[in-house]
Symmetry: C2
Subunit: 365 residues, 2 copies
């Protein structure tokens, strides 16, 4: 920058004004962070009997290490958070799905901004979770075996990018091979047995710590999200992208299991007085494209047929008991071609805009 200023005239006032403007407004290019960081939430401690002897057992030997008297802190979730300047009141808490981590909400596979940065720009405090025994929260109190099985094409199908190795026509996913490479590398394995009670405890502990907020779930965390909201009053709204399991119904109103090619989807029963909690907060559920109404021989689509059917039943049930649930199959509002990951698809800004409008409408902004 170079300024050549000869004498004081209105031009200075203009310059000062411009400078102040560019300084205090949220320019499109800049994210202003008041505070950011990471921490663990929830978790348990395992202790081995005996007494630790720091002389005898204080050196690292992976083949012969006494665990006598030692502890293991594990089963926590790990959170990375950012609070923007002039933050809105309610934070958005993002919880990944099966086989995923906080990467779900960061940069998209094709290198654009994910919901983390998109909603920071809209001045929401943003919390990203790695659930217990996943990603940065890898330390669990129970061991496991990681098979490293080749299964990319299985997930390509279940995540509805396409079938086999062929993309669906019109899918909102970049055809640059680098994008698919990045997408596959977002997956990360369980580092211990997957226990939803531990996950729920960790996310509930997060809401105990941060106070009121909106929970945003994806896929496998969808059902766990309902269960977390049953026990934590700080969850003031739920946004659920493609919930796939663990729909909770009041006892006596649980639908029959829904069979599909490859399995069946069962719902969970909870006492009516617990279920009522889900009628007290606004909820929105999104599903993407390529979800059939009828039985198909494509298992990658099939399981979502019953998930959407179950979500419809669930929506009716919550509404019947006075709740506020909006179910949005994205093609019905003109957003076509979405995969199981609308938050990182090519049209994720439109997907985010729809959520933003809903948050405003419900007073959750």
């Amino acid at each position: 920058m170079k300024y050549i200023i000869f004498s004081i005239k209105p031009v200075y006032i203009f310059l000062i004004a411009i400078t102040f403007y560019s300084c205090s407004s949220t320019k499109s290019g800049i994210i202003k962070i008041q505070e950011q960081g990471s921490f663990a939430v929830g978790g348990t401690v395992k202790k081995s009997p005996g007494t630790f002897d720091p002389v005898e057992h204080g050196a690292f030997n992976p083949r012969n290490q006494s665990t006598e008297g030692q502890t293991l802190h594990g089963d926590h979730g790990t959170v990375f958070y950012q609070r923007p300047v002039n933050a809105r009141e309610l934070p958005l808490v993002f919880w990944h799905g099966f086989g995923q981590s906080m990467r779900t909400w960061q940069t998209t596979p094709d290198g654009r901004e994910g919901f983390q940065s998109i909603f920071l720009r809209k001045r929401f405090p943003v919390y990203l979770i790695d659930q217990p025994r996943r990603g940065l929260a890898g330390r669990g109190t129970e061991g496991t075996t990681i098979p490293a099985a080749t299964d990319d094409q299985l997930w390509f199908g279940i995540f509805r990018l396409g079938m086999g190795t062929e993309f669906y026509e019109g899918v909102q996913f970049s055809k640059d091979p680098q994008a698919l490479d990045q997408f596959f590398r977002q997956m990360t394995p369980d580092t211990g047995p997957l226990e939803i009670d531990l996950n729920i405890a960790a996310v509930s502990a997060l809401f105990d710590r941060i106070g009121p907020g909106v929970l945003v779930t994806h896929s496998h965390s969808g059902g766990q999200g309902w269960l977390t909201a049953l026990q934590n009053q700080n969850i003031k709204g739920i946004v659920s992208y493609e919930p796939g399991s663990n729909f909770v119904f009041p006892e006596g109103e649980v639908p029959e299991p829904m069979p599909y090619l490859g399995g069946q989807l069962s719902a969970r029963a909870v006492p009516m007085d617990e279920f009522k909690r889900l009628t007290e907060i606004p909820i929105i559920i999104y599903y993407g494209d390529y979800i059939p109404e009828e039985v198909t021989q494509n298992p990658g689509k099939e399981q979502w047929r019953v998930a959407l059917a179950m979500a419809r039943k669930w929506t009716e049930t919550v509404k019947k008991h006075g709740g506020d649930v909006t179910l949005v199959p994205l093609p019905e509002i003109g957003l076509e071609g979405n995969t199981h990951f609308p938050m990182s698809d090519l049209n994720n800004k439109e997907v985010a805009d729809h959520l933003f409008e809903w948050l405003k409408e419900k007073g959750l902004d």
Copy 2:
């Protein structure tokens, strides 16, 4: 910025100066991010023989899943980066140590800012790595078993917080039990066999992608850092906190293995023309406190006695061949009580300030 001002009332100069100052300087409370995100680097692809049948094998069944014809993308590193406004030219690339992840550089166990935010405020672009088969980069092409063994007290000793369960006197670690709880929960296991060649390939791929930068290592990544610099010209300087192994010497100049209570520390040989590369960039090595000069019966201290002794030999050797290495045992510059994690100890701002001065001195800012 350049100002050429010929005649102007002082009040306007003052106003404009104040405005620019508050705008372009990093105000204590605000971190201004130009761009942030995450991506995978390096990695391999494993493929099973045969042809994937999306109808037969397209549904998720953890007990009976054919891997025929499928791929597995794994062995990549995962990076989270932030580029501040008015960024300095050279980014800092932070690489964690054994059993750790990018959490090392984020919030400290007692809840203060780590090097991630401290150096963003100093306007460095900051890249945080999870090496292959760790944390967010959990997907590897080889399986493993995670034992979930109780070993907190082993690491309490090796990381030099204290011995057994007792903190060392004067240690720069909060006595709030929550801090130790958080510290233990930063650990996260290997999700596949630890292979340093994969780690080096991923970090080298990162430098291929981002161009020139400074590599900051910790502990186990220290030795891997030298090896990465041997093969990547974009590493323009190395900062190494408590390197513990894989010191590289020219063939014919490799010191004898150094025995210590619990094991022995060996050095690696590389051809002289490769070694020379380490004489071409400025390097600084830091060690904390509680490192004895003489043999002790405390294995947690013992291994660092030989690491520091090896680092001294290494420093001499690199210097002898014309290199620029500075070895800083922190107590010798008046910083006492540091653990194996100076970057997150109670005095981490002073530790960061020393690094900042060194970066300036070497023209790496």
